[in-house]
Symmetry: C2
Subunit: 548 residues, 2 copies
């Protein structure tokens, strides 16, 4: 008798299964990915967000391995936070492993972690599972999807993919492998929904190379290309273009330097030895022979590009004649920062090239026609759209219907929703804890809705603390009230308001109407009303009464 | 002898001259527009942003009139804040006047304000200026640009425009008038740069009508269309479509109800009497005969659509079979809220139609080819791109070059930069105060960089206040230390940390190493180090020492 096969999407901020998904059978489970998400704008003060692994803590012997699809943060970035809680051997391709090792070293976890290097020829057997990584094209080399043979059928997880006929690393999509799985019969496909809103095909990386060529050709001065530190494929395109145009290339920005160094060492980036120079040595070359690759496409305040745009970069001072390329689009939520950076670059008089002006970026994800192609190659019985916000999953699900999958075999689900597959049926079953764990400094999961609500209130109208000492016998005011306030009014210009507030507290205490036990509440209510009346603002108010 | 003509762009958050621009000659000036901007995400707690009119306060008799181009917030919304400081008669078309009156009534300023109704046949003489409003197509009816005859030449200000051959209100662009000004000779053109990043032509409103027809045709249940309350043209399209499909229409959302009522009364919206019904009366009709128009396209938490998406709307409960149209695109900075709203609508199982899926919105602004057409019709000697972020002004400026305006006659400027025009030359001259004045509650301009910085710090890591009473003679600790903290850690789970912090303060005071005068600083430094060590967070720390 077989047991049910269970699929459990665990992580992703508003996204389903992007960061971590479990495949479970009996006493064994493997995880696909272990990534993080960056906080949304209203997660005040939060550094990053990781999947909730309560389910794995509740079932401590379940997890037998973590399989990584590729080396982007949203797929490997939670490892330093999750591994101390849930230990399991990792499986990753060579480049992905290299990127993981940088992280684990920093977190002092490298020596404690078993990492297995896999290739697209590997066949890994773990408990009831036989796992085959297969090659996919994405915006980073060495990306894979996984075919997972289980007692109840074959599960295919696409990872993140597009069908690029001219990828930067020259490795074409593995149509044969996908078709073979389709021929063998696929129980369920979990497929990347990121671009389910985009009709047609995602353009090839080729178009970016062509645009780069055009820009490098026309640029009289230096060319500065900014992209994600993790977009190793784009960096290769910059290297190739710089090479074709006889320019030296310097790498700027810590994360970019680390990644490029590692990828060069492992052979995933190829560049002539004498072409790569240190940024400090650029002054030995004329501007027309210089290119720079750096971070900062999202307008991150401490990134290399933003420092350059603000004329605050220690090593690179932008000037008229320079050309700056933003080879990325704004992640939703980052638009204001990106626009501000663009405006500042324009103010410097440099030539700025971004996506609105020329095709200097293409997505790493399949658009609708490719998503349909994936479904048609794999021909799954069941289909679970993953890696997308809810609306994208719905739209991806509709594409499944369009290519003939019965609607009842398509599962648009949320994180934590378990689906079980028996011999010939599939159904939704329990929900397990899932979703977002907020990381703030050293705290993992300790900042929840209460702290966030307080941060919101403080960010809107600040706070007022009023302190006083009362005689513990008579209740008479001995010292104070003193008032401290921040974020409410500009204190220096508001002395009168603060003095009136103090007087109000004194009057209240001297009125004899206030019982000592409830003095704090009475003071808060009175000040709250007074301050709102006068300013239409509602600071948090904290009376502190010492009895001496 | 003539004096110089001066043009002074005053307002706009990161945008030049969208909100207010002065045309000045000798002792007289007129203003074009008096609008507000909504705060960017990092202007914490700010309600809205208005232009800085210090220059007008410093020259109290200068301003002779405020000419409004159309009734959108970013062109009229600052009137209630500016008029009490700078009084001048207003000039507005009938619909714009209607929208202004709603605002001034609320602010109890209506009876104190002189408003002159103008039409596209008006000729207004003020001091040295002769002003002709001319019709432009925009996403609100009754929008105008201004031709301003001055002793030094003709100034043309486009307002916000596009060249729509099928506008919702049927009024075509006034090419003849623009050509006439071109023939007469235009000294300087101030033209709308909003869409300078967009190639081609902005599609006609016609395409929205066609899409609406298609959607209404297929919808079996209710159709809910959300758009901006100020997009009166779009509301007319909804009315027309509902009429064609025999649906009753209810208006939901306070600002939408106010605007529609006024526009119907003035005849700028036309609807058969019996078609408009109150939302509470919708239950008298089958779903297939119901349409609703409401606000909420930007994901505003208190808007009608967001309440509906969250199943919290008092009057409209969405259900499967309903169709919801988002007839707008996200303003940069609002993406996360819009996406959240879309996801929640999809979760309810309603059919959601938004711009990624069907053309349910078109911009109200000219794209590049129209911008060039404007330049070619008006053929100005000088060109000032206005109404855009800096990068858009640069791009618009390049279009000016492309149609043959000499680069030295194109002024890409920032707010506050005065340009003077003499008989045959133009040049940049002084800078005057300009830009952003933040409004927070009743405070206009009192929240500046200090308060905002504190709000930022509080929003990231909260605060800690530590209070104690010392004996004023001996310096001995009499009471406390007590600690209050918000936004830093979840206090209930952090008792140990708080206790340790208190002990640290006691040790410090009892160590004898701390002088009484510097106790506060010593406590702050010690706690700051301790708390950062333990949490990697940096709350604002305030020691308060009472001496009794």
């Amino acid at each position: 008798m077989t047991e049910p096969l269970r699929i459990v999407p665990l992580g992703g901020v508003g996204e389903v299964g992007r960061n971590m998904t479990l495949i479970e059978y009996g006493d064994d489970a493997i995880a696909i990915d272990c990534g993080l998400m960056f906080p949304e704008n209203d997660m005040l003060g939060i550094d990053l967000v990781i999947p909730d692994v309560t389910y794995l803590l509740d079932n401590p012997d379940l997890l037998k391995g973590i399989f990584l699809t590729h080396g982007h943060e949203d797929h490997i970035g939670a490892l330093p936070y999750i591994l101390p809680q849930v230990s399991a051997p990792l499986y990753a391709t060579q480049l992905t492993r290299g990127l993981i090792e940088i992280k684990l070293k920093e977190a002092k976890l490298l020596s404690k972690t078993e990492i297995n290097t896999i290739t697209t020829n590997s066949v890994i057997e773990i408990g009831p599972f036989t796992i085959e990584p297969f090659h996919v094209c994405h915006s980073i080399p060495d990306a894979v999807g996984y075919a997972i043979y289980t007692p109840n059928g074959l599960v295919v997880h696409t990872g993140e993919y597009k069908f690029d006929q001219n990828p930067a690393d020259g490795r074409l999509p593995d149509f044969d492998r996908l078709r073979r799985y389709g021929d063998e019969g696929v129980l369920v496909l979990l497929s990347d929904s990121t671009n389910a809103e985009r009709p047609g095909h995602t353009p090839s990386e080729q178009i970016v190379s062509e645009t780069f060529d055009q820009i490098f050709d026309q640029a009289k001065g230096r060319v500065i290309v900014s992209t994600f530190a993790s977009n190793i494929s784009r960096v290769q395109q910059v290297i190739n273009t710089a090479m074709r145009h006889n320019r030296k290339l310097a790498v700027v920005g810590r994360s970019m330097v680390d990644n490029v160094k590692m990828a060069l060492a492992l052979g995933y980036l190829r560049a002539p030895e004498d072409m790569m120079v240190h940024v400090d040595d650029l002054e030995d070359y004329p501007d027309s022979q210089i290119a720079i690759v750096c971070t900062g496409t999202q307008g991150e305040p401490t990134s290399a590009l933003v420092r350059m745009a603000n004329q605050e970069h220690r090593q690179v001072s932008l000037k008229k004649g320079d050309t700056v390329i933003l080879s990325a689009t704004a992640i939703p939520g980052n638009e204001e920062l990106v626009h501000r950076t663009l405006n500042n670059l324009f103010r410097l008089g440099v030539d700025v090239i971004y996506q609105s002006l020329m095709p200097v970026h293409v997505s790493g994800h399949a658009s609708q026609e490719e998503q349909k192609m994936m479904l048609e190659l794999v021909r799954p019985t069941y289909f679970i759209p993953i890696q997308g916000e809810y609306r994208m999953l719905v739209l991806h699900g509709r594409l499944g219907e369009a290519v003939g999958i019965p609607p009842e075999n398509i599962f648009v689900i949320e994180n934590g929703q378990v689906i079980e597959f028996e011999e010939d049926i599939a159904y939704l079953t329990e929900r397990v804890p899932s979703g977002q764990v907020l990381v703030d400094g050293l705290g993992v999961g300790d900042v929840g809705s209460v702290v966030l609500r307080d941060r919101h209130l403080l960010s809107r109208d600040g706070f007022v603390v009023v302190v006083m000492a009362l005689d513990e016998k008579t209740g008479q005011l001995i010292d104070g009230p003193d008032i401290i306030s921040r974020g409410f009014v500009y204190v220096r210009d508001s002395e009168e308001l603060i003095e009136e507030a103090k007087e109000r507290v004194i009057e209240l205490l001297e009125s004899g109407k206030v019982h000592r036990d409830t003095a704090a509440t009475a003071i808060r209510d009175s000040l709250s009303e007074f301050l709102y009346q006068r300013t239409r603002r509602a600071p948090m108010i904290f009376p502190m009464v010492l009895e001496v």
